[in-house]
């Protein structure tokens, strides 16, 4: 379907002005002439002008509803009469358009009868690209391909709203399994890194919490065919393949060996007792959201303070009461004996001292978690550094072998460290955090140390260059400040009840909401700051492996990545 070229196939519709479908400055309906069609998400353009032949005004919009009916037919059974040749009736089609942009900004309705065109490149008018204007792509100085539309045109996002310059954060909602939330988050990273859209030292953490699907990012996807390559080509990604710079981090095994079978390049991580005490990481062992446990938090603070001062006394290692502490188990024992000792002030002083009940609760939780955080211990010979030092673009933190509380500890510690490092240093290059299950880390109800950090990142991360790409099944269960600060709101397939929640008001009308419940894997609705309507976006199947069967050889991956890099270097 082309337009502006005068050919017979040119789409032509007319702005409606009936009582029922009157034209307004921000919405109007279109009569779709017989033999033609408009579909949802089509981008349209109306050239109108002020009265008395004045200023020409371009009105742009997106089709969000299409209606077909028999004209002049009232009764339900009339349709049978029409088919039997008794009742004469025309089938007519009209489409509803939500206006995205008016240029110049004179908000008048289009005149009923005005011609409606598909917004595309106008060859008769200096190749003016009406589609770009309609979707505000012309205003974006730096663009990221968010995906492609159903007619295979790129849909861009404004990079400045992703990297913290004008805004930050992405929030993705959708049902597990069909909403392809993780795939889309990974696609965004791929588009950012492979497109060289970022500063050189930009990095990211991806937390792999469920299966091993993120452990093959460094391998090319063997199942990728030329069709999928074509889709990447639409997005300006010439040689799709694996991620070029990836590190995998897994917790050390209890015996000291590397845990995951996935990749030979996995780096083992642990935290030393010294860092644990020094950085006051104790609180991240208590990071399930609480509502009424203020007493226990006072106790956690008190114990943390004493642990931190134990480090100062001990110098290179931790020693409590003259005893050197090498394992987490030993640390827990020392804490227990201090809290048991009536002469010790670890439980707090005087009236602020924790009650025996609080101490019991505290110790119960500490004892129950100590097996799960076995990676908190002093280094064995082969290990050098405590913690995780990200040096490549993509850093996959593989937590799927850990239990929930241990996962929270790692996430909490890494986020805390990232913020502190950024606050101390001057590096503001974008650091992306891909966090799934935000409802667990920043639930709507209650407080927890990780939730506080995530709120901090949502509200202040932009100025530190920390960008949260968060995902959850249901945004309604996530802290509103975390969701609300995301510049890009993305939904994959949503549950029918969930879509009615306030968090999805940006979907505007019932037709979009209904579509959100029907989205197929690989299709998302995206709301971004400059474009006043959510856009339907598709993204290609990963060009990197998500399972061992898909994974090309590691050498291939390296070569592939190198090739990608070289090609892109040439293009840019």
């Amino acid at each position: 379907m082309t337009s502006y070229d005068g050919s017979e196939e040119k789409f032509k519709g007319y702005v409606l002005g009936t009582e029922q479908d009157s034209a307004k400055p921000l919405e109007f309906s279109v009569f779709v002439a017989p033999g033609q069609y408009l579909q949802l998400d089509d981008v349209v353009h109306v050239a109108t002008s002020l009265p008395n032949g004045g200023t020409p005004i371009d009105i742009y919009g997106v089709v969000d509803e299409v209606i077909a009916k028999h004209e002049g037919v009232q009764l339900t059974s009339d349709v049978a009469l029409v088919n039997e040749g008794i009742l004469p009736a025309n089938s007519v089609v009209s489409a509803h358009v939500s206006v995205t942009r008016v240029e110049p900004e004179i908000y008048i309705p289009p005149t009923p009868g005005d011609i409606v065109n598909i917004a595309t490149v106008d060859k008769t008018n200096g190749d003016k690209d009406h589609r770009e204007i309609a979707l505000f792509f012309d205003n974006m100085q730096k663009k990221i391909p968010l995906g492609y539309s159903r007619d295979d045109e790129v849909i861009y996002g404004n990079l400045d709203f992703l990297t913290g310059i004008s805004g930050a954060h992405v929030n993705i909602s959708g049902i597990s399994g069909v909403a392809t939330k993780t795939s889309y988050a990974t696609y965004l990273l791929y588009a950012l890194f492979s497109g060289k859209l970022l500063e050189h030292n930009s990095k990211s953490y991806i937390f792999n919490v469920k299966d091993e699907s993120l452990l093959w990012l460094d391998r090319r996807n063997l199942k990728m065919d030329s069709d999928i390559k074509d889709k990447y080509a639409i997005l300006g990604i010439a040689a799709p393949g694996a991620f070029a710079q990836v590190d995998f981090f897994s917790p050390v095994r209890k015996k000291g060996d590397v845990s995951s079978s996935a990749s030979k390049t996995t780096t083992a991580f642990h935290w030393s007792i010294k860092e644990f005490c020094d950085e006051r990481y104790l609180r991240f062992l208590f990071s399930e959201a609480d509502t009424d446990q203020t007493q226990i938090h006072l106790l956690i603070d008190s114990v943390s303070n004493h642990l931190a001062s134990a480090v100062r006394k001990g110098g290179a290692s931790v020693s409590i009461n003259g005893k050197g502490i090498k394992t987490f188990d030993a640390l827990v024992q020392e804490i227990a004996s201090e809290l048991d000792d009536d002469n010790s002030n670890w439980k707090g002083r005087g009236s602020a001292a924790a009650s025996q009940g609080t101490i019991n609760a505290f110790m119960r939780r500490l004892n129950s978690i100590k097996e799960d955080v076995y990676f908190i211990r002093d280094p064995e010979e082969a290990e050098t550094q405590s913690g995780i030092r990200p040096s490549k673009q993509v850093n996959v933190i593989n937590l799927h072998s850990l239990r929930d509380r241990a996962q929270r500890f790692v996430v909490g510690v890494l986020l805390d460290k990232l913020i502190k490092d950024r606050e101390k240093g001057a590096d503001r290059s974008p650091f992306f955090l891909v966090v799934d299950e935000l409802n667990k880390y920043a639930p709507r109800e209650g407080t927890s140390p990780i939730k506080e950090i995530l709120i901090d990142i949502a509200e202040r991360g932009r100025s530190l260059g920390i960008i949260l790409i968060g995902a959850q099944q249901t945004a309604s269960e996530v802290e509103p400040r975390v969701v609300g600060n995301a510049a890009f709101r993305v939904v994959g397939r949503l549950d029918g009840a969930e879509v009615e929640r306030n968090e999805y008001r940006f979907l505007r009308n019932s037709s979009l909401k209904q579509r959100a419940t029907q989205l197929k894997p690989g299709s998302m609705l995206i709301q971004q700051p400059e474009v006043p309507v959510p856009l339907l976006v598709q993204f290609p199947m990963p060009s990197w492996a998500t399972r061992q069967e898909e994974a090309g050889k590691a050498e291939d991956a390296d070569k592939d990545a190198q090739k990608t890099q070289e090609k892109l270097d040439k293009i840019l």
Partner: protein
Amino acid sequence: MTLRLLPWQSDYGSSLSNDMDENERPVGPVDVTVEQANWDVITVVNSTKIPAQIIDGVRRAEVHVIQEDTVEGAIFGLFGSLAVGAVLCEERAQILEDTLRVERLYLHSGKSLPSITIGEGRFSMEFKSQRVPDATNATNSLYSLQQRMLDAETHLASELSRDDSKITFVDGPLRSLKSPGQRIIGYIKRISQWYINEEQRKLLYQLGINQRTPLFHIPSNTEINNSQSSGRYSWFLRLRELGKAYHPLGGVMRLETNGSVSIEQAKVLADESVQVLPRLSSMPGQDPRAPHNFVPVGQLEKVLTHRLGDPLWLNRQISTFVGRQGNQI
């Protein structure tokens, strides 16, 4: 005592408008034996679909005015609109767009006037002035508008009935039709004259769907000298079984065709009408004049009325015109 409903919405009067026991007005001897000797129900077995086109018209009085003239004094004038057209029922029913005609008239009883143009540019309308000497009051003006509409219908009917691959149905008696084609049938929605006597009318109660009365011949009025000089063949059929609540004659319709066709041709036409019309009849609730106003005709009337334009808008246009220029006609 038993009450029976008559099916039309009361605003539209009734399909039976005469006295039930009215003695026939003298129209000459009606011959009920032209088709067969016994006055008995005829069942039509064939149920093939037959292409049919139906002609109809609408008219609307837009604005009544009084023309003031120093010579003639005050006389009535009427701005009126009328539209006629046809709907074709074949495999699908469709309005025959080419047949749709709209006329705007200014009817008055004064001296001849040029046409009156109202509105400007694309929206201007020309009301043709027609002098109608009888139209000396509002009712007569309206009646003459109705006559103009019937004339336009007749005109269209003679034109369309030339195509005898289809049956042409016309609203109302065929009396005024000039040189019509062979396959033309007039249908009478509102029975004001039975033509058959009370005894013969009993047969109407027995009529079922797919059945009709035998043909009967109505002689022509002597003063009319056109294609009708040989009179008309007429018959009754049942459009619809309306159920116990309704009077049995509420679903009956009278039809007629030209006396100039052969009796054989007339029989074929009568049988074909039984095949065509009951399916097209409307149900109570579907049309205010159900079952007599056919479904495609109801739709045609809507389209025609729509073509007349919005009545408020027209009224406003005419009032504005009169307000600004009325004195200058």
